[in-house]
């Protein structure tokens, strides 16, 4: 009796295409896309922070604006995404470097690269002066209109430089960099740090 019922059920089972319910998955993905787009918009500044440096933590709240970046790498100094100088007494780094290869950075600058009694870094100074002149040339052709008064004026060079450095970098090298930047008319330094989450 039982077997006959089973057979009847098997006979009645109709072969149908398997329909996956995609609507709920679509809903979920759309929510994710909206969330990611929102967080993407708040972090619009592209940063050239090196993966080789560990930033210090800070409770500061200012989000960096788009500006010229200066990165103190373990092997040298990068300015505006271009390496301007290598540090002295670096160990021989195999190319390609094997996985997990590390070395202790020296952050030493050769004396031939220094001027003003060892305070100004010449290759960095040259790069910064070039960058300033380029920015000033571009600004001289631009016109800014004051939204309240309607006055037209030429924008002025702000001289903002964003400094990225490893947390172990000593003030001695930072002082040289700041002195060089100040000499090249970059008068506002923005020190980059990782945001510390408050308890």
């Amino acid at each position: 009796m039982r077997s006959s019922i089973k057979n009847r059920r098997r006979r009645h089972r109709i072969k149908r295409d398997f329909d996956l319910q995609l609507t709920s998955m679509m809903d979920m993905l759309i929510i994710m896309v909206v969330f990611l787009l929102k967080s993407y918009a708040t972090n619009s500044v592209a940063f050239a922070t090196s993966s080789n440096i560990k930033l210090p933590s800070s409770t500061a709240e200012e989000i960096p604006a788009d500006s010229i970046n200066l990165v103190v790498e373990p092997t040298g100094i990068m300015f505006d995404n271009e390496k301007v100088m290598d540090f002295a007494n670096l160990p021989v780094i195999p190319s390609p470097a094997p996985a997990g290869f590390t070395f202790t950075p020296t952050y030493e600058i050769e004396s031939r690269h220094l001027a003003d009694y060892g305070r100004r870094i010449l290759p960095l100074y040259d790069a910064m002066v070039k960058s300033r002149q380029k920015a000033e040339l571009m600004m001289s052709k631009a016109v800014v209109v004051d939204p309240t008064t309607g006055e037209r004026s030429t924008p002025k060079f702000q001289g903002v430089v964003i400094i990225h450095a490893d947390k172990s970098v000593k003030f001695d090298i930072l002082r040289k960099i700041m002195y060089t930047a100040g000499s090249a008319e970059f008068k506002i330094f923005k020190l980059v740090a990782e945001k510390k989450e408050e308890a």
């Binding site: 993407y40 800070s58 020190l191």
Partner: protein
């Protein structure tokens, strides 16, 4: 001409099933792209202007007002806080041995509390000059700048008058940090 009854019945009840698979593909690709390109590390910046040498006449005028010129000398094992003349504020904060490592570290808490006390005496002062030694690390500088720039939630509240003359809690301690020994 009349239609056959069977075809009339079928034409009214046809379900429309949009093909969601290509849309799903596009969304998955978009999510993957956004996840890869999003920065989950929040980056912040601390402003510090380069010291500017004012003209001699301006300097003389400023000195008549007897500015505080609060200066922090960061030595290897001590923090020394002083005003311009050294007559109003002089504080020495020695480093403490770390409980975990035993190595000496700066006493950030005492440094902050000292600055809070100074701020109570000079509530309008906003500038502080840092003069670190060459061997002080960037991490220590950022930690000291954090301690000097803002009141913490646990600090007793200092009130200031806003533009409408209403008392409001002050959040900034010495918010303008300038490195005083860059040019020297």
């Amino acid at each position: 001409m009349l239609k056959r009854p069977t075809s009339r019945r079928k034409s009214g009840s046809q379900e429309v099933n949009p093909n969601l698979v290509p849309m799903l593909d596009a969304l998955v690709t978009l999510v993957a792209f956004l996840l890869f390109s999003s920065a989950f590390l929040s980056i912040v910046v601390i402003d510090t202007p380069a010291p500017v040498l004012a003209p001699a006449e301006e300097q003389i005028e400023k000195m008549k007002e007897k500015p505080l010129q609060l200066t922090v000398h960061i030595r290897p094992e001590t923090i020394f806080i002083t005003d311009w003349s050294g007559s109003r504020e002089t504080h020495t904060i020695p480093s403490l041995p770390d409980l975990k490592t035993g190595e000496k570290r700066y006493d950030y808490e005492r440094f902050h509390q000292t600055l809070v006390e100074i701020k109570r005496r000079y509530p309008k002062e906003t500038k502080i000059i840092f003069k670190p030694d060459g061997g002080v690390s960037y991490e220590v500088l950022v930690a000291l700048m954090d301690a000097a720039r803002r009141f913490e939630k646990t600090d007793s509240v200092l009130y200031k008058k806003n533009d409408q003359g209403i008392d409001e809690p002050e959040t900034k301690l010495f918010s303008e940090v300038i490195f005083g020994n860059i040019m020297s």
